[in-house]
C-alpha cells in the first residue's frame, strides 16, 4: 500500500515524463517477435550440389553490419533491421579447399528486398553460371502467364468480397485476414502431420467456418440493429486489426514455408512456369468456373443474384435473404482461404500480414471491375494481376509494382467510376 501511495505522490510531482526511454514504442508499427523480422538467407551448394559449411558471409548497409557462418547443411541466415538494399559478401578465404566462386559470380553483391521479409541470395560455385539471356518477348510471355495466375488467385478472394458487398453493402476490410487464415491454417495442420490434401481441405473449411462465425456473431446482429454501412466498415477495420494480431500472437512474425513451396520452373511450349503457379492457375480456373455455374444455373445462385440486386424485393418474393447472406459469407470465406493458400505459394511464404498486403490489390480488382458485380471482380482482378507482373517487364522497379495497380484503379475511377462492368446507379 505504501508503495502505491508513494507512487501516486511521485506521479503528482512528476507531471511530465521522467522516463522517456521506457515509454512504449511510439511507432505504430507492429511489434516484432524476433530480434529482426527481416532476414537475408541462402544455401551454399557446390557444383555437385553438396552443401558447403563454415563459410563466412557478411551483410552490411550504412551503419548496419552482421556476419554469419554457413551451417552443416550449407544454409545461412542473417537478420536485418529494415528492408532495403544490402551488400552481401562471401569471404572467399573461408571456402574449403578446391571450391571457388563461379566465374562471373559477383562478390560482394548488392541485394534488395522486394515485398517479402525474407530475401534469398544464391552464390554459385564451380564451373560457372550460365547467365540467362531472356529475350524480351519470352520474358513478356512468362510474366503474362505468371500475372494471369496471380490475377486469378486475387479473383478468388475478390469474388467473395464482391459477393459480400453486393448482398450486404459492406466493404469488408477484414477480408485480408480471411486470406491469411487459409494459409496459416494449412501451415498449422501440416505441422500437426496431417496429410497435405487433408490440411488444405481443412483450411478451406476453416475459412468457411470463419465466414460463418463472422456473420452469425457480428454482421447479422449489426444488420438487425440497422447499423449504417460506414460504421460497419469501421467495425471491419477493428476486426481486421484484432484478427491480424491474434494470428501474429499464435503464429509469430516470421515467414514460414508451406510444403512443396520450392520448385524449379518447367517448360510448357514457349512458356516457362513453376509447377506451383501452374497448379494455382488450374485450381483457380476450375473453382471460378464452378462458382459461375452455381451462380448462373442453380436456384441458390439465382437467389444470390436477386439479393445482390435488391434485397427488399428478393425478400418480398419469398427468398430467405438472411440465409442467402449466410451462405455468401461461408462461400466467401472458403474462396478467400483458398486464395490465401495459393498466395502463400505464389509469394512464396506464410506471414501474419500476407493478406493485408494484397487487400488493396483485391480492392483494386473489385473497384476496377465494378463494386458488387461478380464478373467485374473477376475481370478486374485478372487485369490487376497481369498489370502488376507486366509493369516489371516494362522497367518499373520490383518494389513499385503494386503502385502501378493502385494508380490505375484511381485513374479508372476518374473516367469510369462505376468500373468496367458496373452499372451507373451503383455510384450514386
Amino acid at each position: 500500500m505504501g508503495t502505491v501511495f508513494a507512487a501516486a505522490a511521485a506521479l503528482l510531482l512528476i507531471v511530465a515524463p521522467a522516463s522517456q526511454a521506457t515509454t512504449p514504442s511510439p511507432t505504430p508499427s507492429p511489434p516484432s517477435n524476433q530480434q529482426f523480422q527481416n532476414t537475408i538467407s541462402g544455401f551454399l551448394r557446390g557444383d555437385d550440389r553438396a552443401p558447403i559449411p563454415g563459410v563466412t558471409i557478411t551483410v552490411r548497409n550504412g551503419g548496419f553490419e552482421a556476419s554469419t557462418k554457413s551451417a552443416a547443411n550449407g544454409s545461412w541466415s542473417v537478420g536485418v533491421p529494415t528492408q532495403g538494399t544490402y551488400e552481401v559478401e562471401l569471404d572467399e578465404s573461408t571456402l574449403p579447399e578446391g571450391i571457388r566462386l563461379a566465374e562471373g559470380q559477383e562478390n560482394p553483391r548488392q541485394v534488395t528486398f522486394s515485398q517479402t521479409s525474407n530475401l534469398s541470395v544464391i552464390f554459385t560455385f564451380g564451373q560457372g553460371i550460365v547467365i540467362q539471356q531472356q529475350d524480351f518477348g519470352q520474358n513478356l510471355l512468362n510474366r503474362l502467364v505468371a500475372g494471369l495466375s496471380f490475377g486469378l488467385l486475387l479473383a478468388l478472394a475478390s469474388v467473395g468480397l464482391s459477393l459480400i458487398f453486393g448482398t450486404t453493402g459492406l466493404t469488408n476490410f477484414a477480408h485480408g485476414e480471411m486470406v491469411t487464415l487459409g494459409a496459416v491454417l494449412v501451415f498449422a495442420f501440416n505441422a500437426m502431420n496431417l496429410p497435405f490434401w487433408l490440411a488444405i481441405l481443412l483450411a478451406v473449411l476453416g475459412g468457411g467456418l470463419f465466414g460463418y462465425v463472422q456473420d452469425a456473431g457480428l454482421w447479422k446482429p449489426l444488420r438487425r440493429r440497422g447499423t449504417g454501412l460506414v460504421p460497419m466498415m469501421i467495425v471491419s477495420i477493428g476486426l481486421a486489426l484484432a484478427v491480424r494480431y491474434v494470428i501474429q500472437f499464435f503464429f509469430g512474425g516470421a515467414t514460414q514455408q508451406l510444403p512443396f513451396a520450392q520448385s524449379s520452373e518447367i517448360q510448357i511450349g514457349p512458356v516457362s512456369i513453376s509447377p506451383n503457379n501452374l497448379w494455382s492457375l488450374v485450381i483457380s480456373v476450375v473453382v471460378i468456373a464452378l462458382l459461375g455455374i452455381v451462380l448462373l444455373k442453380t436456384r441458390l445462385g439465382k437467389a444470390t443474384r436477386a439479393v445482390a440486386d435488391n434485397p427488399a424485393l428478393a425478400a418480398a418474393s419469398g427468398i430467405d435473404v438472411d440465409s442467402v447472406i449466410r451462405i455468401v459469407w461461408v462461400v466467401g470465406g472458403m474462396l478467400a482461404a483458398l486464395g490465401g493458400i495459393l498466395w502463400a505459394y505464389y509469394r512464396p511464404g506464410v506471414t501474419f500480414d500476407m493478406g493485408s498486403q494484397i487487400l488493396l490489390l483485391i480492392f483494386a480488382g473489385v473497384t476496377l471491375g465494378g463494386l458488387g458485380t461478380v464478373w467485374g471482380a473477376l475481370v478486374g482482378s485478372v487485369i490487376v494481376g497481369i498489370f502488376v507482373e507486366l509493369t516489371t517487364v516494362f522497367g518499373l522497379a520490383a518494389d513499385l509494382k503494386y503502385v502501378g495497380a493502385l494508380f490505375i484503379m484511381i485513374v479508372v475511377l476518374l473516367f469510369r467510376p462505376q468500373g468496367i462492368l458496373g452499372r451507373r446507379e451503383r455510384v450514386g
Binding site: 508503495t3 506521479l11 512528476i14 511530465a16 522516463s19 522517456q20 516484432s32 529494415t82 460504421p231 484478427v243
Partner: protein
C-alpha cells in the same frame, strides 16, 4: 511490480510529442470525417507527405525551417487536391478505398530503392531537425524533469495542438462550418440551397490534410528520423480509434482520445510486463504482450463503433452517419 514506474510512464504519455502528433492528425480526421463526413482512410499518407516534405526540403534543398514547413504544408494541400478531384463526387466507400490506396502509394514511393538518394528508402531520413532545435529559446537545464530539447518540442507540439483546436472550433461555428455540417447531414439539401458542395468538401479535405502534415512533422522531430514503415495503414486505423474514443464531431474529442489511447497502451504494457516479470503470467512472453495490446486496440475499435459511436464527448445527434 513497480506501480510508481508504470504510472509515471503512463502519465508521461499524456503530454508526449507522439500524443500531440496523434491528437493533431486525429483533429484533421475530425474535420474530414466528423464534420464533413468524408471517410478519409489515408491520413497516414498525409502525415508521410508532411514529414517527407519537411525532411527532403531540409536535407536535399537545404531549406531553412520555415521554408521547409511551408513546403510540407503546400505538398499536403496538393496531395489533398489530387485525391479530391477523382473521388469527392463519389460515394463514401470509394473515397475510403482511394484514400487508403493513395496513402499506400506514397509509402511505396518513399520506400522504393529507386529514390534512395532523396528518400533514403526503407531506412528513411535523419538529421533534419537541427533548424528546429536551433530556435530553442530555453537554455539548458531541467524543466519538470526534462532537458530543454524535450521540453521545447512538447511546448511547440502542444502549442500547435491548442492553436489548431481553436482554429477548428472557430471554423466550425462560422457559416462555413455550418455549411460543412449541413453537407454531412444531407448533401442534396445543401446543394439545393445553391452551395458548391464539391468546393466545400475539397476545402475540408485540404484543411484536415494540412493538420495531418503538421502532425507528421511533430511526429518526426523528437525522433530526428522519418521511416516509411511508420506510415502504414495501421497508423490511420489507430488515429480512427483515437477519434472515436474522444468523439467524432468535437474539437477536444480527438485530443483527449489520443491521450486516452497512449495512456491505456502504456498502462497495459507496463502491467503486462510487470506480471510477466513477477512470474504471475507464464502463458505470455513480452513480445506476445505487445501483440496483445494491438489486439485490444482492434477489439476496442469494434466495441466503440458498435456500442458508443459518439465516443466520450460526442453527441449522438452529431454523428456523421445515421
Amino acid at each position: 511490480m513497480d506501480f510508481g514506474f508504470i504510472l509515471s510512464s503512463a502519465a508521461g504519455e499524456l503530454f508526449s510529442p507522439t500524443t500531440a502528433a496523434y491528437a493533431l492528425a486525429a483533429l484533421g480526421l475530425a474535420v474530414h470525417f466528423g464534420y464533413a463526413g468524408l471517410l478519409n482512410f489515408g491520413q497516414a499518407g498525409f502525415m508521410a507527405v508532411g514529414a517527407y516534405g519537411f525532411a527532403i526540403s531540409t536535407l536535399t534543398f537545404q531549406a531553412p525551417f520555415f521554408v521547409a514547413l511551408l513546403v510540407a504544408i503546400v505538398c499536403a494541400a496538393i496531395f489533398a487536391l489530387l485525391l479530391g478531384i477523382p473521388t469527392l463526387r463519389l460515394r463514401a466507400d470509394y473515397l475510403a478505398i482511394v484514400t487508403i490506396a493513395a496513402a499506400e502509394i506514397v509509402r511505396y514511393i518513399v520506400t522504393t530503392n529507386q529514390l534512395t538518394s532523396v528518400t533514403g528508402s526503407a531506412n528513411g531520413l535523419a538529421a533534419f531537425e537541427g533548424g528546429f532545435y536551433a530556435m530553442n529559446p530555453f537554455p539548458e537545464g531541467s524543466y519538470l524533469g526534462m532537458n530543454n530539447r524535450d521540453f521545447f518540442i512538447r511546448v511547440v507540439g502542444w502549442g500547435l495542438v491548442a492553436i489548431c483546436c481553436v482554429l477548428v472550433w472557430l471554423l466550425m461555428r462560422s457559416p462555413w462550418g455550418r455549411v460543412l455540417k449541413g453537407i454531412r447531414e444531407d448533401e442534396n439539401a445543401v446543394r439545393s440551397l445553391g452551395k458548391n458542395v464539391y468546393a466545400y468538401k475539397m476545402q475540408a479535405l485540404i484543411i484536415g490534410g494540412v493538420l495531418g502534415a503538421l502532425a507528421g512533422i511533430i511526429f518526426t522531430l523528437p525522433r530526428g528520423a522519418v521511416q516509411p514503415a511508420n506510415y502504414g495503414t495501421e497508423l490511420t486505423f489507430f488515429l480512427y480509434t483515437c477519434l472515436l474514443l474522444g468523439g467524432l464531431g468535437t474539437v477536444l474529442g480527438p485530443v483527449v482520445g489520443a491521450m486516452i489511447f497512449w495512456v491505456v497502451l502504456s498502462l497495459t504494457q507496463g502491467i503486462l510486463y510487470g506480471l510477466i516479470e513477477s512470474g504471475a503470467v507464464t502463458w505470455l512472453n513480452t513480445v506476445q504482450a505487445g501483440q496483445l495490446r494491438y489486439i485490444l486496440v482492434g477489439v476496442a475499435l469494434m466495441l466503440l463503433m458498435i456500442f458508443r459511436p459518439q465516443g466520450v464527448f460526442g453527441n449522438k445527434k452529431e454523428l456523421a452517419f445515421a
